[in-house]
C-alpha cells in the first residue's frame, strides 16, 4: 500500500516536472550565460545586429537576442522578465527606423541605447498605403510608415555595423584595435555582398518584380529595382479579391517573378504559376536563420534571385 502511494506521488511529481518543462517557452538562442560571465552584455532587437555585434565584438562581449525564433522581431512584444534583461544590459542596440516598436512602449536605460541607423535617418524610406494584417504570434500589425528593413541595403548595413563598432569601442575602449580589425573584415564581406547584388541586377534593373511583402524597400531602392509589393503571407492563400487585384496590377506591371519572405504553400505556388509567375525566396533575415549566418543567407539570396534576372 505504502509502495503504491509512493509510486503515485512520484508519478504526480514527474508529471508536474514534465508539464512545467513543456510549458510555453520563448524559443531563443541557446543559453550561454555560463561562458558569458564577466563579459559586457549587449542586447539587440534583430538578428542582423546580433550578427554585426558578434562579428565585431568577438569573444569580448556577450550578445543576446531573446526574441523567439517563430516571431517577427519587428512586431514582437517581450515579457516583463525579458524587458528587465534589456534594462540590465550594458548596451542595447536598436535598429531604428521605427523597427521594434515595443522599445517605444517600455522603460529602457536611455544612456545605454544606441540607434544604429540614426546616422542615415534622412534616408529612411516610407511605405505608403499598407493595411493592417496579421501573421505569427505577434498579432495584428501594419507596415505603414517608415520602412525599417534597413540592413537589406548592404551599404546601410555597413553604416549600422560602423555604429555598432563605435558603441562597442565606447563600452570597451581597451579592445578598440580588435574591434577595428573585425569591422574591417565585416565590411569586406558586406562590400562583397553588395558587389554580388549589383552584378546580379546591373543592366536588368527594369525587370518587373513583385514582392509578397513590403520589406524589400531598401534593397529595391539601392539597386534601382522595378519592384511592387503586395501584402501576402506564404502560408495564407490570398482571397479572390486579392487575386483579382493582383491580376489587375500585373497588367501594368508584367512581372514574371514574385519574391517571398518564406517558401509559399504549394497551393499558392500553383495558383501563382497559373497567373504566369514563379516564386523565389529572399530571406530578409530579421530573425535567426535556421541554417547559416547573415552573410551566408544573403549569399544564398543572391543565388536564388539569379533566375529572376536572367
Amino acid at each position: 500500500m505504502r509502495k503504491q502511494r509512493l509510486t503515485i506521488v512520484a508519478a504526480v511529481l514527474l508529471g508536474c516536472v514534465l508539464w512545467l518543462s513543456c510549458g510555453k517557452q520563448e524559443k531563443s538562442q541557446p543559453d550561454s550565460q555560463a561562458s558569458d560571465e564577466g563579459k559586457k552584455t549587449v542586447y539587440v532587437v534583430n538578428y542582423p545586429l546580433q550578427y554585426f555585434a558578434e562579428r565585431i565584438g568577438g569573444d569580448e562581449v556577450a550578445v543576446h537576442f531573446p526574441a523567439p525564433s517563430d516571431e517577427d522581431p519587428a512586431f514582437w512584444m517581450p515579457a516583463p522578465e525579458t524587458i528587465a534583461q534589456y534594462q540590465e544590459a550594458d548596451l542595447v542596440l536598436l535598429n531604428g527606423a521605427t523597427y521594434a516598436k515595443w522599445t517605444e512602449k517600455v522603460s529602457l536605460t536611455e544612456s545605454r541605447i544606441v540607434n544604429t541607423s540614426a546616422a542615415f535617418s534622412d534616408r529612411y524610406l516610407q511605405i505608403a498605403k499598407a493595411v493592417t494584417h496579421s501573421h505569427g504570434p505577434g498579432g495584428e500589425h501594419s507596415h505603414a510608415g517608415t520602412d525599417f528593413n534597413t540592413w537589406l541595403d548592404p551599404q546601410l548595413a555597413i553604416l549600422q555595423a560602423q555604429t555598432v563598432k563605435d558603441a562597442l569601442v565606447d563600452l570597451l575602449p581597451e579592445h578598440e584595435a580588435l574591434f577595428n580589425t573585425n569591422m574591417t573584415q565585416l565590411e569586406i564581406d558586406l562590400l562583397a555582398l553588395d558587389s554580388a547584388f549589383q552584378a546580379l541586377v546591373t543592366g536588368r534593373e527594369e525587370t518587373p518584380l513583385v514582392a509578397s511583402h513590403p520589406v524589400y524597400g531598401y534593397f529595391a531602392h539601392k539597386y534601382g529595382l522595378n519592384l511592387q509589393a503586395r501584402l501576402w503571407e506564404p502560408e495564407k492563400m490570398p482571397s479572390d479579391e486579392e487575386w483579382q487585384d493582383f491580376d489587375h496590377s500585373i497588367e501594368h506591371h508584367p512581372a514574371k517573378w514574385m519574391i517571398w519572405e518564406g517558401t509559399p504553400d504549394s497551393a499558392i505556388a500553383v495558383k501563382l504559376k497559373e497567373h504566369g509567375l514563379d516564386g523565389v525566396v529572399f530571406l530578409p533575415c530579421g530573425n535567426i536563420p535556421e541554417e547559416g549566418d547573415y552573410i551566408q543567407v544573403m549569399q544564398q539570396n543572391v543565388g536564388r534571385l539569379k533566375p529572376a534576372f536572367e
Binding site: 522603460s107 493592417t132 501594419s142
Partner: protein, 392 residues
C-alpha cells in the same frame, strides 16, 4: 535637607496652577530657540544633502528657487516646460548624463515624477517590493506613498485630473503599481514614479484608441480618404494601458519636441560641468543651468536672516520671562510673609525659610529644563520627518 524638599514639594503641589505656569513659561523659553535651531539645522542638512548630490539642473528661464525646489523635491510651482531636445543636446555634448524630469501631475495628492531609469541609479533607489518600471502605464511608489495610501504591487493608482472643472481636459490614467521603493529618507519617499513616456500620456500628448482604419463605427469618423482618417471628439481614448491596447498608444509630437520640466545633468567630471555651464551662460540659451548647491545656499541665507530676527525675538521673550519670574517670586514672597512669620515663631531659622524659597525655584528650573530637554530630544528625532514633510 529631606524635610526642606518635602515642605517645598508639598507647597508646590498645593499651588499647582502657579507652579504649572512657571514651569511652562520657563520650558517654552528654553525649548523654543533650541527647537528652531534643530529644525533649521535639519532643514539645512536635508536641503544641502539633496542639493550636493544633484550637480546641475537645467530648466526654463524664470524662478531659480522654483526650478531647483521642483526638481529636487517635486513640490514647488511647476516651471515652464522645456523640450526634450535639451536632453539630446546634453547627451550629444558628451559632457554629462542627462536625466529628464516631468513633474506636472499628481496622483491622490502625491507628485507623479516622469523620468528615465537613470534616475533610480543616480539617486541609488532600490525597489523594495515588486519589480521596476517595465511598460507604459507602470508606476513605482515611494515608501511613504505606499504606506499612506495602503497600496502595493498589483494595485492601481489613478492620476488626478489637472482641473476638475475642465471637462474637456486630460483623462486621468489608471496606472498599474509594479513596485514600491525601499525607504530612502528623501523626497523620493513621497513621490510616484513613472516612465517619462507615461507622464506624456497623462498630459494627453500620447494616447491610445481603436484602430480607425479598421473601424466600422462611422459615428467617430469625421472624414475618411484613401490615406487618411480623421476622427471626431467622440472617439473614445483608453484610460488604462493594458497588454491588449498597448500597441495602439502613440505620440502626436516629435520626440525632441516633447515637454519636460527639468533635466538633471550629471557631468562626467568637473571640467565637463564647467564647459556645460558655459553653454548655458549666454543670452541665446533657451534654458538656464543652475548649480542647486548655490541656489540652496542662497535660500538658506534668507532662512538665516529670518532666524536671526527670530533669535532676537527669543532673547526678548527670555528677558520678559525672567522679569515675569522675578515678579512672581516677589509677589509670592509678599503673599507668604504671614506664612514666613508663623514659621519663624514656630522656631524656623531665617536660613531655613530662605532654603525653602530657593528649593522651590531650583525645582521649577530643573523640571523646566528637563521638560525642555525631553522636548528637544523628541524634536531631534522627529525633525527629519517634519522637515521632509514640509519639503514634499
Amino acid at each position: 535637607m529631606y524635610r526642606t524638599l518635602l515642605l517645598t514639594w508639598r507647597y508646590m503641589t498645593f499651588h499647582k496652577i502657579k507652579t504649572a505656569i512657571l514651569v511652562t513659561c520657563i520650558t517654552l523659553t528654553v525649548y523654543l530657540p533650541v527647537a528652531v535651531h534643530l529644525l533649521v539645522d535639519d532643514f539645512q542638512v536635508q536641503l544641502m544633502t539633496r542639493a550636493e548630490t544633484t550637480p546641475l539642473v537645467i530648466g526654463a528661464k524664470g524662478s531659480r528657487f522654483d526650478l531647483v525646489l521642483q526638481s529636487l523635491y517635486f513640490d514647488a510651482q511647476p516651471p515652464e516646460s522645456i523640450k526634450m531636445n535639451e536632453v539630446s543636446k546634453i547627451r550629444n555634448s558628451g559632457f554629462a548624463l542627462p536625466i529628464p524630469l516631468h513633474v506636472r501631475f499628481r496622483a491622490r495628492g502625491f507628485p507623479v515624477v516622469g523620468t528615465t531609469l537613470e534616475y533610480f541609479d543616480f539617486r541609488n533607489l532600490q525597489v523594495g517590493q515588486g519589480r521596476p518600471l517595465a511598460i507604459l502605464g507602470d508606476c513605482i511608489l515611494g515608501a511613504d506613498v505606499a504606506q499612506k495610501l495602503g497600496i502595493g504591487p498589483g494595485d492601481y493608482l489613478m492620476s488626478d485630473p489637472e482641473n476638475v472643472f475642465d471637462i474637456g481636459g486630460n483623462y486621468p490614467l489608471k496606472m498599474c503599481v509594479t513596485g514600491v521603493l525601499a525607504r530612502s529618507h528623501s523626497a523620493d519617499d513621497y513621490a510616484v514614479f513613472v516612465d517619462i513616456k507615461t507622464a506624456w500620456i497623462i498630459e494627453g500628448i500620447g494616447h491610445g484608441h481603436q484602430n480607425l482604419t479598421d473601424s466600422t463605427d462611422e459615428s467617430v469618423v469625421l472624414k475618411r480618404s484613401d490615406d487618411q482618417v480623421v476622427a471626431n471628439a467622440a472617439l473614445p481614448q483608453y484610460t488604462e494601458i493594458t497588454k491588449d491596447n498597448l500597441a495602439s498608444f502613440h505620440f502626436h509630437a516629435e520626440p525632441d519636441d516633447l515637454p519636460i520640466t527639468a533635466v538633471i545633468a550629471v557631468p562626467h567630471d568637473e571640467k565637463s560641468g564647467v564647459l556645460l555651464e558655459g553653454r548655458y551662460d549666454t543670452d541665446k540659451a533657451n534654458a538656464q543651468l543652475l548649480r542647486p548647491v548655490k541656489v540652496v545656499e542662497e535660500m538658506m541665507g534668507m532662512v538665516f536672516k529670518v532666524k536671526r530676527i527670530f533669535d532676537a525675538n527669543v532673547v526678548l521673550v527670555a528677558v520678559s520671562t525672567a522679569l515675569f519670574m522675578v515678579l512672581v517670586i516677589l509677589l509670592s514672597l509678599r503673599l507668604r510673609r504671614r506664612e514666613a512669620v508663623t514659621m519663624f515663631h514656630l522656631g524656623c531659622s531665617r536660613m531655613t525659610i530662605f532654603r525653602l524659597q530657593a528649593a522651590e525655584l531650583i525645582i521649577v528650573l530643573l523640571v523646566s529644563c528637563m521638560l525642555a530637554g525631553l522636548s528637544a530630544l523628541a524634536t531631534l528625532y522627529y525633525a527629519p520627518y517634519f522637515v521632509r514633510g514640509l519639503l514634499s
